[in-house]
């Protein structure tokens, strides 16, 4: 007597989900350099790239995303719009938009990008040049009142800390007293 409601007729095409805003262009399919591959030389192109093998030389995908995967070992300079490091990189990184070093990533070299994120656990030695980030951050501050945060939520305790100034030295400001819990969301600038 009671029929299960079943759709009749073809599915309405207007209900098909649209690609999200900011989706990569149609010709930007990711290419993957497999874990067993070793490339010595210059790699360039106009598509996203994930490196899981070994590369020595230069990687240039200036308008795309370059990812050094977890097992990847790269000894090269990398140029990308976004560069993500999850493996090992010895070289310089030039990120047109941003550079992210994940918790599993190790970078020995210099990073030049307006936005740089180092996740907790990321290992890095070198310089980070963020010229241009000051303007971006000012705009972000005007748009939101989010405060700096760490990647992993950390429960900490703030001890009553009432600094006693030494005679003849600048007077200390009054400090906050009491419990303070810091539960942080992920880092910004991504």
């Amino acid at each position: 007597m009671w029929k299960k409601n079943e759709p009749e007729g073809p599915v309405n095409d207007t209900q098909t989900p649209r690609p999200s805003a900011g989706a990569p262009p149609a010709n930007s399919e990711s290419s993957v350099l497999g874990a067993s591959l070793v490339v010595k030389g210059d790699i360039s192109g106009t598509q996203d790239m994930v490196i899981r093998g070994r590369v020595e030389g230069t990687v240039s995908m200036k308008d795309n995303t370059v990812t050094v995967g977890e097992g990847g070992k790269v000894k090269a300079d990398i140029y990308g719009r976004t560069v993500i490091v999850e493996g090992e990189l010895r070289g310089n990184v030039f990120g047109g938009e941003k550079v992210v070093v994940r918790a599993s990533g190790t970078v020995r070299g210099n990073i030049c990008s307006p936005r740089v994120t180092l996740e907790d656990g990321a290992r890095f030695k070198g310089s980070i040049d963020m010229e241009g980030s000051a303007k971006d951050n000012k705009k972000q501050e005007q748009a939101s009142t989010a405060s700096p945060a760490t990647k992993n939520p950390t429960k900490v305790t703030m001890q009553p800390d009432d600094p006693t100034p030494v005679a003849g030295i600048k007077k200390a400001d009054k400090s906050a007293v009491g419990q303070m819990r810091i539960n942080s969301a992920s880092t910004t600038n991504t």
Binding site: T117, I128, P148, V156, V166
Partner: protein, 213 residues
Amino acid sequence: MSRWFYSEAPATPSAEASSASAEPVVHTSLALNVLYHQIRPGRKYHILDLGPALGPNVEFFSQFSCKIYIEDLYDSLSSFDYLSPEDGIPNKKIFDYLLPFSRATRFDIILTWDIFNHLEAREFQGLMRHVGQFCRRGTMLFSLISTRQHIQEKPFHFRIIDNHNLLYEPQSTVLKKCPRLGQSDLQRMLPYFRVTNSFQLRNGIREYIFTYE
């Protein structure tokens, strides 16, 4: 085997030692606040960070136009144990190798955090002789010196929460004797620098800002 760090056998537990904890704790930083207010917008700063790479610290300085050199000196020295002054290698060459900067580099801010608590005198002098080459008049050096009897065996990780709060993350619960460097000791080790700010905190840390002259 080389001994790069001021290190002795773990101390006998005492009342002070028994209070050592592995929990991170937030403390007010008055010197950081002074440093923050010294930074002028619209100018590019070159910052030498001798501590480890920490995301929040990079993020904090990203609000200014700057170039940060992150060198994690403790990590570099502790993995450098195949060469030591006993091998006859002069300090200068060692620091030239560990902290290679171009001749034209000049730092505006040097963050030493608490590394001075963990260096022997010759290491301290060697470091500052090297770093001094890359300073200019007005370079500010930020340092946290422990005044306690014992300190953790390894330097803390200091995360900048905001311009007047630091999160102290201990990296060891093992304690060692603290050198308790006084201002006169520091002045001797830091030629051409003078103390411009000093704050004694109740947590036993004395914060300094030195300025290069």
